[in-house]
Symmetry: C2
Subunit: 414 residues, 2 copies
Amino acid sequence: MSFFTSRWVEVPEWVAEARAGDPGLPQGFRAAGVAGGLKAAGAKDVGLLVSDSANTVSAARFTRSGVLAAPVLLTQERCRLDGIRAVVANSGNANAATGRRGLEDAARMQGAAAMASMTAEATVAVASTGVIGVPLDVDKAIRGILTARGQLSPAGDGLFAEAIRTTDAFEKAVSWEVALPSGTVRLSAQAKGAGMISPAFATMLCFVQTDAALAPETADLLLGVCVKRSFDRVSVDGQLSTNDTVILQASGASGVEVVPESEDELRLGEALDALLRRMALLIVRDGEGARRVGRVAASGGHEETVVRAARAIANSPLVKAALHGGDPNWGRIAQAVGGALHDMAPLPLDIWIEDVQVCAGGSALPYDAAALAEAVSGPEVEYALRLPGEGAEAEVFFSDLSHDYVTINAEYTT
Amino acid sequence: MSFFTSRWVEVPEWVAEARAGDPGLPQGFRAAGVAGGLKAAGAKDVGLLVSDSANTVSAARFTRSGVLAAPVLLTQERCRLDGIRAVVANSGNANAATGRRGLEDAARMQGAAAMASMTAEATVAVASTGVIGVPLDVDKAIRGILTARGQLSPAGDGLFAEAIRTTDAFEKAVSWEVALPSGTVRLSAQAKGAGMISPAFATMLCFVQTDAALAPETADLLLGVCVKRSFDRVSVDGQLSTNDTVILQASGASGVEVVPESEDELRLGEALDALLRRMALLIVRDGEGARRVGRVAASGGHEETVVRAARAIANSPLVKAALHGGDPNWGRIAQAVGGALHDMAPLPLDIWIEDVQVCAGGSALPYDAAALAEAVSGPEVEYALRLPGEGAEAEVFFSDLSHDYVTINAEYTT
């Protein structure tokens, strides 16, 4: 993946990409990705990521689905979430809707990864992604973990990212240097996305590492704030997953301590914000079948209403198909808002597409159709919605709806 | 459209299709459909439907969208909804998000239709369907109305149905004879659907006529109950429209009076129920790009939860794409339920596909994959979901998500 740019992600000036010769992971971390046989044809499907520091601090967020996968339940119930040392993740099977056996399989993965990482089981998080409702072939996963143990490397982040892919078209791994006032730290992340991506926070897997030294409260605060502005604001298909997991680990191996309410914390926070927004946008850009990315920015006087309207636009198959076709059919935006805000007619909506106002006070405005068609033909399209009132804002990023999405999802298990 | 059958619609034994030589409309009604020039290439786009009886009784239901089209606002505000004599409808333009001008255009249509029908403006309902956010060429609509006036006919229901089509692949018109204890009455309906169809009641246009004599309260009660079991329970794409309108008109011209709480009322109600379910299923079957129809039947202890889960399944693009591909990937049903019922894990779901149980207590069951793949390859597929508890039930009918849906909606205005 070449260096990503989007007008919607501002990278702070104290952030630089890791130099070419550097290992991808921050000090204290090693990772590996191997083919355990869960996916067909020798594709990588088991990843292991380990922090060697006993003082590793972590924070985590999970899907809010009412149907939680076994690894999510296990990690939530049996891990010290502020002290996760190792992450074991597999693709090819979500280990979801698999009952007691699924929990036992997840526990076996946790045990094997604890052995491989030479750490306690309670410090090992388990994550899975893939098909739902099929028992996991846990022996293959465990053999993969044992193989991965021998291949752990500070440069293993790319292979780890490859091992967590499902329908992702490209792997998502970023490695940065962040110049803080107290010294330079590293910040890296690996993610997977593609389908079953909905704006109800995580909805994918993302693992984030830094060698900064953070208190658990700082890690939790930073992750919580940044997830709300990134993974909580993307939609590929409006479908909340059973397995979403985001974990931030801080090894402290750089010796740079980030004290609460310091300039260090502020700068690291802004870097983490840019990193997670980048990963979130990569997930949208690599949404199943996606060719274009839209951003809706909604404003108005009522927080919940503004968020609901923005999400309705981002999740509308009609808006998504119009984005796909480069069709400036803004009536579908009005329709999606109306559908989300029942019984509130008449709504005096203002709508802009790429800074061209097309609707004022709920009523169509004349516009230069050729110019607007040109404006919506690019890879990124921005929609703005203004509802009555002031003070509340929400943005959601979304992919288009394409023939390829249908093809991918009509023939996923068969 | 040949005689429709579905295992999901039971037609009462006192209902028969109108005989071949009969006019399609009940006594007292006339209709026409003409090409006014709103659609390209001479396609019909203006429909007029008139009851000649001054004592006509009616009932109506409208979309709950927060963005109401001008004809919906006008009809709600300026019509005697229990005494609608005439309906004027156009396709090719929804007259939505068109502001004050849109209201004036709708009023001009109402005025022209009142003249053409020789009735008062307050007894004329206006309905529009088509693109949103483009001013209506009202002069063409009015010329269409004047042309239609000269072509009104008791057999005009098919042309009227044709004139309200947008992306519908076939027209939806049904004409029945209903044998009540007090005498035989006629019952007919014309509908349009295809896209922007969501389970929040109407979400399309449907006009229903009978020559039975009904009190306004009876008409309203029967329509309300039957809409809840039909148009409120279908989804093509989960997108609530700005224009949905359902109108029932009773001319009384048969002389058969349907008294409240009589056997007549019961039988007419069951016939209306079957008719609206049939029209609703026709809309799903003709959903944009649709090739298969699914039915989800959910049960459990809590009404709102059961409805929410059923709708989430019906609206899930992953479930819809799997239906399209004939893929028995029931994990997506579990996922959709989890996404709809936040923070309720673990949910002990039971799931059946075509009577094959695939999930018990939230956990996968072994099943004959080949037999199930065969079972989901037909034109209708049934899914059952059981949540904890008893007493509440909900069903939703939905179409699949196909390449053609994307094609239709990526290139609708351009």
